[in-house]
Amino acid sequence: MPHRNCFDPAVETAPREHIRRLQLEKLQKQAVWTYERIPWYRERFRKLGVKPEDIRTLEDVRRLPFTDKQALRDNYPFGLCAVPLDEVLRLHSSSGTTGKPIVIGYSRHDLDVWSDCVARLVVMAGVTRSDRAQMAFGYGMFTGGLGLHYGCEKLGCMIVPAGSGNTERHLMMIEDYQTTVLISTPSYALHMCEIGEKLGFDWANSSLKIGLFGGEPCTPCMKREIESRMRIVCTDNYGLTEVNGPGVAGECLSSRDHQHIAEDHFLWEVLDPATDEPCPEGTEGELVLTLLDKEAFPLLRYRTHDLTRVTTEPCACGRTHARMSKVRARTDDMLIIRGTNIFPRQVEDVLSGIHGVASHYRIILDNESGMDRMTVMVELQPEAFSDSFESMNHFQRHIVDRLRQSLMITPVVRLVEPGSIERTLGKSKRVDDRRVKE
């Protein structure tokens, strides 16, 4: 059995030409499906002067209309639903920071496809049906909770559906039920580390082996920190509510920073965000996804705004599905400060190279003085504290210098107490832009 480590070996290790043939077949069907069933799409096709039968090759996907978050907002709640609502078995939504959320519906077929995709990424992370998975995501409208739940169940794991919060109870469950897999946001895992360490929880000898993280970006340095403190293997996956939730891509143990895309269900494009032209394979651009197997909310060319690179090079694990690099930036999380483009991840990269500061930080932007000012709040770690103002000031200046070299602007660095930057249970709010726009 060569590919025993796959959930669905025949699909996951299929020859590339086979995958492409299947993708074209499904794309053609999906184009008909959306055109015939969703007036909004039909109108878009008409404006572009394109008909479903114009899709003759995979490259023809470029003739199809884009979909973006705004389309989901404009058609809220059910305008983009392609099946009678009687056939929609479940809704999920993503919390909008302003106004209405994005809502997505799933038919029985969609739920089945989704749990298959999740089961695949769970297996890629090294989970087997003998594992016991402890859920620390919240359930509710968020796709992560039920998504991972049904994926693990499909694989045949025991699930402990504890949900989010109550860290002491989580620790007790790990001990009592001997759970082996933790499903959580990376920041909650860090919070569990801290509480566990305070309570004397024995991470080194605990039953946990694997972390399945999601719900927010898991940076390499968070990953390293959790791996060394919890003594587990941390894995990460990619997905977004608009295209089911988790299950678009997952990391296999042979390719930790590139994640296999479920190509039989998702057609990917990587486009230059400035021109919308395809990027050459392996170069960074915006990931655009077309759902190939979705009945209820079948999105075409969904603009994720996530920046990634995709490679179709063979992977050591034997899977043939293309791999996308971990998303570390979005086309829209770029900050423009005094005319300079800055990604929060640059701050993170600099801080992870400085001994004596934690991986948590916050960026505050203001323009009270008429000019943009960037303040980076950095947690001092106990070992870097000295009793002298002189050496503390020196340390602070050192951080400023390192940031300036990377960012090309001079930030203000504020040292704050260890543990004082909020570890949010959901998405970490790292940037607080208080600038008054004229």
Partner: protein, 139 residues
């Protein structure tokens, strides 16, 4: 003859000093002297306590940035000119006092650029140093 001092990194915000003092109180640690100094953004609070090892352990357990260092504690008679006399000795010996603060009763804690030289100068002038045992016992 040096005495243990516990320094803590503190942001200059309401309640932060209290948090440290609560940790001391619940652990039965008696503060015998303290000072705070700040830069506007952050500060350093320094404590002389009766159980320095326990204090450090409790602070670390609460993830505080705390550090143990040494100060010299001098007992001065409560008389006109005594403080000036000590400082004059340091000036004459070229010793730089980096910071100092008073403890309960008539004891002052000093941190200088050279504790060995400071001790020698004080001894030469028969100025009484207070030991850790005395501090812990409630000198």
């Amino acid at each position: 003859m040096a005495v243990s001092q516990i320094s803590v990194f503190l942001e200059n915000k309401p309640g932060h000093l209290l948090h440290i003092l609560n940790i001391f109180e619940t652990s039965g640690i008696n503060v015998r002297g303290f000072s705070t100094a700040d830069t506007g953004d952050y500060g350093i609070a320094r404590f002389v306590v009766d159980k320095p090892a326990l204090a450090l352990e409790m602070l670390r357990a609460q993830s505080c940035a705390a550090k143990e260092s040494e100060v010299l504690c001098i007992r001065l008679p409560d008389r006109l000119g005594e403080l000036a006399r000590v400082i004059r000795i340091f000036a004459a010996a070229g010793i730089n006092v980096i910071y100092s603060y008073t403890l309960v009763s008539n004891i002052i804690a000093i941190h200088t650029n050279n504790h060995a030289a400071t001790e020698a100068s004080l001894k030469e002038h028969s100025i009484e140093l207070v030991s850790q045992d005395e501090i812990s016992a409630g000198a």
